[in-house]
Symmetry: C2
Subunit: 359 residues, 2 copies
């Protein structure tokens, strides 16, 4: 696990600079990143609350003993009978933020958790964590690279397991189950296993189902797992027998788009420049309308995090950022092709984490 001990300090430095009085996180990836753990997540409000100088937990009583083993932060406990209001007021008083003017909320936490904070501080302006925790999370260190590389190689193995087992007559779900099993065998939690056969490949977020694989299908596999709190995410295409009409042409265009994006991704470049590069290849080839999503997204403790590579985002890419490059072309009624690699941005360009060739 990466050391998290100095992350609170780094965060509080940013909070001072940005005049954020209080930052609140629910039990999830953000808390995991900041504190190295998170308590059980359910409907009971559980918040890590960070002020510019202190930090404490709003903690459901039944999770207190278990969480005490993982953190030294002060707990403000509440029982099912009492509810969280009194404990939360005590926490705000203890952190000296009852007059907070700027609060930053974990965008991924439950809406009712966010409401608890906002209702207690009605005069505060609300922002989310993109410029604070998001800013820090984007800039990854060696220990994180190591975990991401390990996750990528596990995803490679899971992809190969699906590939090796796949044959005409199997269902998408059967292939997905083989991939899931490989993740599990490698001590990794399967996070998503999209298998889209034939026409289904034209839906970028196809819900893997009972569709049977046929000869001539292009099968999109977009899979990811999680180990040691970090993630993997990779997309490859398998073709069963002879490729469908036009497949090779479209495949070559998507591959060219990947390579254009890889060339464009350099430290100091804005995120949209990478999207522009991939999109130009696909648009120039006449398929612009079929590239219906951004070129990529950051990855780390979450599968999708900053930086996002869209046609408009002005985020300046820096060495140490980790993101996907994954252009695609989706032809309704025919097939879809997306090729995705996760890269670490190095001084001289992207380092691809997967060892699997894209073809």
């Amino acid at each position: 696990m990466p050391r998290t001990s100095n992350r609170i300090e780094q965060l509080q430095g940013l909070m001072k600079a940005q005049h954020i009085d209080l930052l609140a996180l629910g039990p999830g990836a953000q808390m995991q990143w900041l504190l190295g753990f998170h308590p059980h997540a359910d409907e009971r409000p559980c918040l890590a609350c960070i002020s510019q100088t202190r930090a404490a937990f709003l903690m459901p009583a039944l999770n207190a003993a278990g969480s005490r083993e993982a953190t030294n932060l002060n707990f403000f406990e509440w029982s099912d009978a009492e509810g969280p209001q009194v404990a939360f007021t005590d926490l705000l008083t203890d952190l000296n933020v009852t007059n907070a003017r700027q609060i930053a909320l974990d965008e991924t936490m439950r809406a009712d958790f966010a409401a608890l904070v906002q209702d207690a501080l009605p005069a505060a302006k609300r922002q989310f964590t993109a410029s604070s925790i998001g800013h820090l999370r984007m800039r990854k260190d060696e220990s994180e690279f190591t975990l991401l590389k390990a996750n990528a190689l596990i995803a490679d193995a899971a992809m190969m397991a699906g590939w090796d087992a796949m044959k005409v007559g199997m269902s998408e779900l059967e292939v997905a189950e083989i991939i899931r099993k490989k993740f599990i065998d490698l001590d990794t939690k399967p996070l998503f296993t999209i298998v889209g056969a034939g026409l289904n490949g034209a839906y970028p977020h196809h819900q893997t189902g009972e569709t049977i694989l046929k000869a001539g299908d292009a099968v999109v596999m977009d899979i990811g797992g999680g180990k040691s709190s970090y993630s993997s995410d990779i997309t490859r295409i398998a073709v069963l027998g002879e490729a469908p009409d036009g497949y090779h042409e479209v495949q070559a265009i998507v591959e060219a788009a990947v390579q254009a994006a890889m060339l464009a991704a350099r430290p100091g470049v804005k995120a949209h420049v990478v999207d522009d590069a991939a999109r130009k290849v696909i648009t120039d080839a006449g398929y612009g309308q079929y590239f219906v999503h951004r070129t990529g997204h950051g990855m780390g403790v979450e599968i999708h995090e900053q930086p996002y590579l869209t046609s408009v985002l002005q985020t300046v890419l820096e060495t140490g950022m980790v993101f996907s490059i994954e252009p695609g072309i989706y032809l309704p009624g025919r097939f879809g092709i997306r090729l995705e690699d996760i890269v670490i941005l190095r001084a001289d360009g992207p380092e691809i984490l997967s060892d699997l060739p894209r073809d």
Copy 2:
């Protein structure tokens, strides 16, 4: 799958009665319950929006084609480049709710999704869905009972698999993996598999880990899976060899608390009366301070939903409600015992879904 076609109508009836102008749901259990499906969930705002007379989706463009197969609702699509703002404004105009005064938000959805709605309707009062969708979800029908019973029997089989395989020298995670595998073999998604051995059993939400099972351990297993969009949840205790000191006494108290709660749970009774009954048994036996959580929670498309059985809740129980009864006693440094069954409340009392005896 239960028919969902009349649920929107029922919901709109409640919205009219309660003067809720707009209800918004994220992709999750609530949307699944209302519409019978939900699109892929990620950081892209995706909302099912219900007015008193109409309904529509705010839909990320890349999920549109796939979702079109599952619903006839109108889509207001947005691309990664455009962002959701314009499409959401168009949706509010189309639903004629730009002057909404009361909005109900899915409490489980991401905080940034909720903010999108609230920022677009700054004059509206916000509530969550407890009195609208929550009210409807509590009152389950025969098709839901059937799915919940099927899920309960699968959980029984998974519990037995863990029980049969468990032996001294295995780790909690190994036992959990066997339980997970059984769920998967039965075409069911494992949702949680808490295995707490010995001292760990004293943490109600113990994070299953590398602890090795020893002779004389009481092992708490709290597991649940999901099939056909419904859930299971059951807790049993296995004792490896000779029980720890005091185990049989405490086990008998918890069992008596379960039975007291079962006797108290009748249509027309308030939720807290059930909690009171279980808590009285445990308190009278001198263990009140070690029963650190509520007696139960509703269950359906979510593992935890209304009605909650706490010491304060005034919800009146009705026939057809489905909830857990799960008192526990947690003795730090010694062991923990929780016994949990899911019941359907019938006219003459609770019907237990599991076929496994509690001892």
